[in-house]
């Protein structure tokens, strides 16, 4: 059942569940952040509407900087603004920022602990038709490997909005990962969100779970459907939304592993270095259990519809279900 304490959207499993894009959640969050805190500024590299920074730019034109198609400049200029007390949000597509400008982010933002928020939209294969060049599948790895930066990958539009508002207050660098397509609305305004906190969204009605599914980003809805279907097949699971990949909620992950003794991770990202790797690092050191990884297996993407691509690269519902059954067999 859905965790009754989290006040999740009761319509999650309806076919007409409301859809909203995370970038819109970000756009609304940034607008609100701008109203609350006058130090919030926005910078964009010629993708203001695509990344939905236009709400902020229209309302606060004097606090918005258009740098042109120049992602290296985007983040280094933001670093300088942060040095003068601003809280800059820089948005672009994830493949360009933090893809193209990694060393600039390292030297001028994380190294100097400047509270710049890098917002990478259009992450994952669900960008779809634009093709492999525009599908960031390595960005979580690129960002989480750096000291001194939070990495947040929301599970829906409302969480993206909450994350945006939360990042204003952290006083440190952050990466916010967004997917392009509309995704089902899973949470409500009342669902708790905290940086460094993981929540169990799905749990067995009674008894212990046999497998823990840890998911981040746009695959969250699929994982919840899988959990519901598996319940009918007699397999009890818990689904954890791990939107805060760094800092990572060690306690919650270890507790889930202790209960289930088998974990599946799911993300729209390379398996190497992604969220699943982060979970494996935690478990290998604290409570090793068999794991299966859902994600991209060392490949680049291509054109297609988001659903086609998610199926093709082994991240669809059936793949998640198979991974659960596989890891169940591996349990000691």
């Amino acid at each position: 059942m859905l965790n009754p304490n989290l006040k999740l959207n009761p319509k999650i499993f309806n076919s007409d569940v409301e859809q909203a894009s995370m970038r819109k959640g970000f756009g609304e969050g940034l607008l609100k952040a701008g109203e609350i805190n006058k130090n919030v500024v926005g910078l964009c590299a010629d993708l203001t509407e695509s990344t939905q920074m236009n709400f902020f730019a229209d309302k606060f034109p004097k606090r918005f900087v258009q740098v042109g198609v120049a992602e290296q400049n985007l983040v280094t200029v933001a670093s300088g603004m942060a040095a003068m007390g601003k809280i800059p949000f820089c948005s672009s597509y994830a493949i360009f920022s933090p893809g193209r400008n990694w060393e600039q982010i390292r030297t001028t933002i994380t190294f100097d602990d400047r509270p710049v928020k890098i917002v990478g939209s259009h992450a994952g294969v669900s960008v779809g038709a634009d093709g492999g060049t525009h599908q960031a599948l390595e960005d979580i790895a690129l960002m989480r490997v750096m000291p001194n930066i939070d990495v947040i990958s929301p599970g829906d539009a409302i969480e993206a909005k909450k994350a945006t508002l939360a990042l204003v207050k952290t006083g440190k660098p952050a990466y916010l990962r967004l997917v392009r397509e509309k995704t089902p609305v899973i949470t409500t305004e009342k669902t708790p969100f905290g940086i460094g906190r993981a929540e169990i969204y799905w749990m067995p009605d009674v008894g212990l779970a046999q497998v823990g599914i840890i998911v981040t980003g746009g695959l969250l809805h699929r994982a919840l459907i899988v959990a519901k279907e598996l319940e009918k097949e007699g397999i009890k699971t818990k689904v954890m939304n791990l939107s805060s990949i760094k800092p990572i909620d060690v306690k919650a992950i270890v507790s889930l592993a202790k209960e289930c003794k088998a974990i599946v991770t799911a993300e729209e990202h390379q398996i190497a270095g992604g969220m699943g790797s982060a979970v494996a690092e935690v478990l290998a050191q604290n409570f090793p259990v068999p794991m299966e990884f859902i994600g991209i297996r060392d490949l680049f993407g291509q054109s297609g519809t988001p659903d086609e691509l998610i199926e093709h690269y082994g991240m669809g519902k059936n793949s998640i279900k198979e991974a659960v059954k596989k890891v169940l067999k591996r349990k000691i």
Partner: protein
């Protein structure tokens, strides 16, 4: 700011002391860059002892001018100028590049918070200075202080540098002043052989900057062009300062081989003897 003949003599003596400190710290460290720091010693002396609005006893003073050193590898001259200005003891210069030092091989703000930015990887500094100037413009503080960015000629090879130049021109950042160390050398040789930059003046001008050229070793002329830069209200200004790499030690001057290495003990003593005789 008015610069008297007496003050110029005083600055010349100070620059010579700073050059001696640079040699001493590099010999002690056993590695580091020599030519750039010696070449920029006059400019850093003029700024730290005449131009900058700063207070070494109160390094985080909010109203201070901001100094961004983009080509972090010339940090011996920054550290020496800061030590002589009173930010930290001159003795500490001998810890350059050693374990636990505040004076890291390239500037690292976590260890030395008195600097505005960490640097070393080239091409970022001007963008950071642009960000500072943009923030000042938003806060209507751009009449109250200047953002100075010291940068190298070699880092014009970086695309990031031109992205910054373009954005500053677009936003007419009047309190932004870039100072280019035009010493014509980079690691592998002369800039015009490795990657020609000329006509450098015209390039900056084409990006809507006010451009001034000057000798990097003439205190009077340097002071005048900084004054000129401060009076330009509709554009950012770049001062292309022609410097002699290794300036002050004849054996090191104009030789790109001294870009990236430190003098050994013997070479250091020879250099110090020459500098002592100039006192």
């Amino acid at each position: 700011m008015f610069l008297s003949e007496e003050k110029i003599l005083e600055l010349e003596k100070k620059a010579n002391d700073i050059r001696m400190s640079i040699i001493e710290m590099l010999v002690e460290a056993g590695s580091g860059h020599t030519a750039g720091p010696l070449g920029m010693a006059d400019i850093f002396t003029l700024f730290y002892f005449h131009i900058l609005k700063h207070d070494p006893k109160n390094p985080f003073w909010e109203e201070r001018d901001r100094v961004v050193l983009s080509n972090g590898h010339i940090c011996p001259v920054l550290y020496a100028a800061m030590a002589h200005a009173g930010y930290f003891p001159i003795e500490e210069l001998k810890t350059l590049r050693k374990f636990g030092t505040r004076l890291q091989g390239h500037p690292h703000r976590e260890y030395l918070p008195y600097i505005e930015t960490s640097s070393g990887p080239l091409g970022c500094g001007l963008s950071q200075a642009v960000g500072m100037a943009l923030a000042d413009k938003m806060n209507k503080k751009d009449k109250d202080r200047f953002i100075y960015c010291f940068m190298s000629d070699g880092e014009h090879d970086e695309g990031n540098t031109w992205e910054a130049i373009m954005l500053a021109g677009k936003n007419k950042l009047r309190n932004l002043i870039a100072i280019v160390d035009r010493n014509n050398i980079q690691i592998e040789g002369f800039t015009e052989d490795v990657m020609p930059l000329e006509p450098l003046q015209s390039k900056w001008r084409a990006f809507n900057w006010h451009v001034i050229e000057v000798s990097g070793h003439d205190f009077g002329a340097l002071n005048e062009v900084v004054e000129e830069a401060q009076t330009i209200y509709e554009k950012p200004t770049v001062i292309i300062a022609h410097t002699i790499p290794g300036k002050g030690v004849r054996g090191f001057e104009r030789n790109y081989k001294w870009h990236g290495k430190a003098p050994n003990k013997e070479e250091g003593e020879m250099a110090l003897d020459e500098l002592k005789n100039r006192r």
